[in-house]
């Protein structure tokens, strides 16, 4: 029972068969046949963005907040090249995306045709895989493969480049059940010998710590559930990377807070002094390790990762386990229980006593004095006033992002959308649009800096068009805050081009797009202003004028290990040596 249809119709049919309900896109000459099919159906909703980069980040926000792949439809040439930043961002953070690009007709490829770009060539290093479809016969099979590759193993973005003549031509449609998914079946089950080795080490460890990452979230809600069960049953402390926040609840009793360059003192000290580190779905990123040769010197390291290339890339793993976090945790729990639920209680007790001492440092302390709002205070109030909501948080990149990670709490996975690996300024606003589309009744907040926010401000048009009540919480210090902080610490306080000059009046800007603008500069007005934002049913630009020269602490200076954290202004003088200065 085969069905003949045009390539353009196949695209829409394949998306429906893959369970896609939303596509983020922007039309253009080379995708007109597909847009014509989109027009003639009602099953798939198309969200018109204002820039292709926004489409990709919106799809990322959709994907991260739902666990489903995000889908993007853009045209050839500039449509495709504008998508490159988003693709790279999704690749670094392992976000499943299927990006469809139009291409000039096959007979014009290579002729420098209008709006032609070598899309598969350009995107080869920034996708998990990509395809140029040269024949309508193979189109539907390729689309199903694309979804399979994007969502299997370590998730990531894939791209399918579809020439215009392939969209017009007709062929038989291959349904998903008949598509060849080739040999791409990554290993999900961990090696049982290694898992037993890990359990034995866990039973004996005096100072164990779980170091969890985005892999737990990507593995699905079941993995977060298993992590909670394992952590709570063993009583072992747990910390997480920026990407893994929410996998273990912030209100959980074993929670140490985020680790890393701007992580909590107790989390980093625990990492440095532990005797058993169990890395679950994290990748020893340089924001986490600090100086590699002084990284957690006395510990045995287990590493669970679905991607074999993550293991032994940066830090040597004593117990490497290739597999999906959910599957491996299930087996770890099974083995641990069958061996009698042993744990080194005495060791753990004194380990927790040390951790409690570190917690007393109270590394996130700040003082809200005077008439200027401290950014930390703004976030603490935002947290207090919104934490009981059905809440999704996005961020841009910079100081505000780190403060959001420090001062906001996450009790569930898929609630936190931030650009971790690539550090893409301009990510948060479109991501918040994607998250709001996926969860129309939820409270979606983008914590932003004014400079990051301006990088994709055109998406205010999208938010207004679809009446998306996204709340843009802009901590406005009129600076590129993180750049300014590094210039202060590393470059003799020469603040080269880190001012936000000629800033718009954000209230008027919001109003120009038909959104609401709120300006807040007095700490006394903050709560009322936040409530006003929450009570408004529509997009809000919240311009929160904050202390201009606040630095983000605690901080592991570049080139230093975990136990050499800077805790505040007093400790910053000459904190970064010449070797550290070359690091980013």
């Amino acid at each position: 029972m085969t069905r003949q249809m045009t390539g353009a119709k196949m695209v829409v049919q394949a998306l429906k068969d893959q369970g896609v309900d939303v596509v983020f896109g922007y039309p253009g000459g080379a995708v007109l046949p597909i847009y014509d099919e989109v027009f003639q159906q009602n099953d798939i909703r198309h969200i018109l963005v204002r820039h292709e980069q926004g489409a990709v980040h919106a799809a990322e926000g959709y994907a991260r907040s739902t666990g489903k792949p995000g889908v993007v439809l853009v045209t050839s040439g500039p449509g495709a090249t504008n998508a490159v930043t988003g693709l790279t961002d999704a690749l670094m953070d392992s976000i499943p995306l299927v990006v469809l690009t139009g291409q000039v007709p096959t007979f014009m490829i290579g002729n420098d045709a209008f709006q032609e770009a070598d899309t598969v060539g350009i995107t080869r290093p920034c996708t998990k895989h990509n395809w140029l479809v040269s024949d309508t016969k193979t189109l539907s099979g390729t689309l199903h493969q694309a979804f399979h590759v994007a969502t299997s193993g370590r998730p990531g973005p894939v791209l399918v480049d579809i020439p215009k003549d392939v969209q017009f031509a007709s062929a038989d449609y291959t349904p998903p059940q008949k598509a060849r998914l080739d040999h791409y079946q990554p290993q999900v089950k961990g090696d049982m010998d290694a898992i037993t080795e890990l359990v034995v080490a866990l039973e004996k460890a005096k100072r164990p710590v779980f170091y969890t990452g985005g892999g737990v979230i990507n593995s699905g809600p079941a993995a977060s559930q298993l992590l909670r069960e394992l952590v709570d049953a063993t009583g072992v402390p747990v910390t997480s990377t920026l990407m893994g926040l929410g996998a273990y609840p912030a209100k959980g009793k074993n929670w140490l807070g985020m680790l890393g360059m701007h992580g909590l003192y107790e989390a980093n000290m625990a990492m440095h002094d532990c005797d058993l580190m169990i890395n679950i779905g994290a990748r020893f990123d340089d924001r986490i390790t600090g100086r590699v040769d002084a990284f957690s010197p006395g510990s045995k390291k287990a590493h669970i990762d679905i991607d074999p290339s993550s293991i032994n890339k940066v830090i040597r793993a004593d117990i490497p386990i290739v597999g999906d976090v959910g599957h491996v945790l299930e087996d770890v729990l099974k083995v641990w229980k069958s061996r009698g639920r042993k744990i080194n209680r005495e060791g753990l007790q004194s380990w927790w006593a040390r951790i409690e001492d570190w917690k007393k440092v109270n590394c996130l302390a700040y003082s809200q004095t005077g008439k200027t709002i401290k950014p930390q205070h703004a976030l603490a109030r935002l947290e207090a006033l919104t934490k009981d909501h059905d809440r999704y948080i996005c961020t841009e990149v910079g100081q505000h992002q780190m403060w959001a990670a420090q001062y906001l709490t996450f009790d569930d996975p898929n609630r936190w959308m931030t650009s971790g690996g690539l550090g893409t300024m301009g990510y948060g606003f479109p991501a918040s649009i994607g998250a709001q589309i996926a969860h129309p009744d939820a409270l979606v907040i983008n914590v932003a800096g004014e400079a990051s926010w301006l990088m994709n401000m055109q998406e205010l048009g999208t938010a207004a068009q679809y009446r998306l009540p996204v709340k843009q919480f802009i901590l406005n210090n009129e600076r590129l805050g993180m750049v300014r902080q590094w210039q202060e610490l590393l470059h003799g306080e020469r603040y080269s081009h880190s001012w936000s000059e000629a800033l718009p009046d954000f209230v008027k800007l919001a109003e120009a797009f038909g959104a609401k603008g709120i300006l807040c500069k007095d700490p006394g007005d903050l709560d009322d202003a936040i409530m006003e934002m929450l009570n408004y049913d529509g997009p809000v630009l919240f311009d929160c004028l904050v202390e201009k020269h606040e630095n983000c602490f605690p901080m592991i200076p570049s080139g230093e290990p975990h136990n050499k954290m800077l805790l505040g202004e007093a400790s910053t003088k000459d904190a970064i040596g010449s070797k550290g200065a070359v690091m980013v």
Binding site: R124, N130, H183, Y184, Q187, P308, I311, R316, V322
Partner: protein, 186 residues
């Protein structure tokens, strides 16, 4: 969850063998990579090496299964054991890559390279070139009054040695195929 189909690394010597020996010694390894012969697959492999700063000393590629559209890429690369392990793991991640074999660590293997050398000379030099070619079991595949083209097959070292000998005798041009390699036995 356990209902999912699981395919482990196809041999225990594949990229999934993760017990490393970390040393700083630079080693040369010959990797055999079986890939789907689809457009861009070679670019993916080469892009991986350039993008991540690995070395390629030699690379050969040709389709080995015309029905199944599979190609075999043989790469000679250098790096510390950790880097070599990373290269194998990264290659294993590429979607059209079926299998990565490190022939240097997976027991004995046979390596061969073919080269064509054009040697121009007259008189005694021309005779000496022929004599040496005979010793190296190089064949004369073309001759003009003032030039020979020799074909020689062997390990890269043997070809290097032959080329060094031909240089003073009038070596004008050389073309080498790069290494093709297979493991010994079954």
């Amino acid at each position: 969850m356990s209902a999912l189909k699981i395919k482990k690394g196809s041999t225990k010597h594949s990229a999934y063998n993760l017990r490393p020996t970390f040393s700083d010694k630079i080693e040369s390894h010959t990797l055999a990579i079986v890939v789907d012969n689809e457009p861009g697959v070679l670019a993916r492999v080469i892009g991986l090496f350039s993008g991540r700063g690995y070395n390629i000393d030699s690379l050969t590629v040709a389709e080995i299964d015309h029905q199944g559209h599979q190609s075999r890429i043989t790469i000679v690369t250098t790096g510390t054991p950790q880097v070599i392990e990373q290269i194998k793991a990264q290659l294993g991640r590429i979607v059209p890559v079926h299998d990565v074999h490190d022939l240097t660590v997976e027991g004995a293997s046979v390596e061969r390279e073919l080269a064509l050398l054009k040697v121009a000379g007259e008189g005694e030099k021309r005779v000496e070139a022929l004599r040496l070619a005979d010793i190296f079991r190089a064949n004369v595949v073309d001759s003009t009054l003032d030039c020979f083209v020799f074909e020689i097959t062997g390990t890269p070292d043997k070809i290097d040695a032959f080329a060094d000998l031909m240089r003073p005798l009038g070596l004008a041009e050389i073309a080498r195929t790069g290494v093709a390699a297979l493991p010994r036995g079954r």
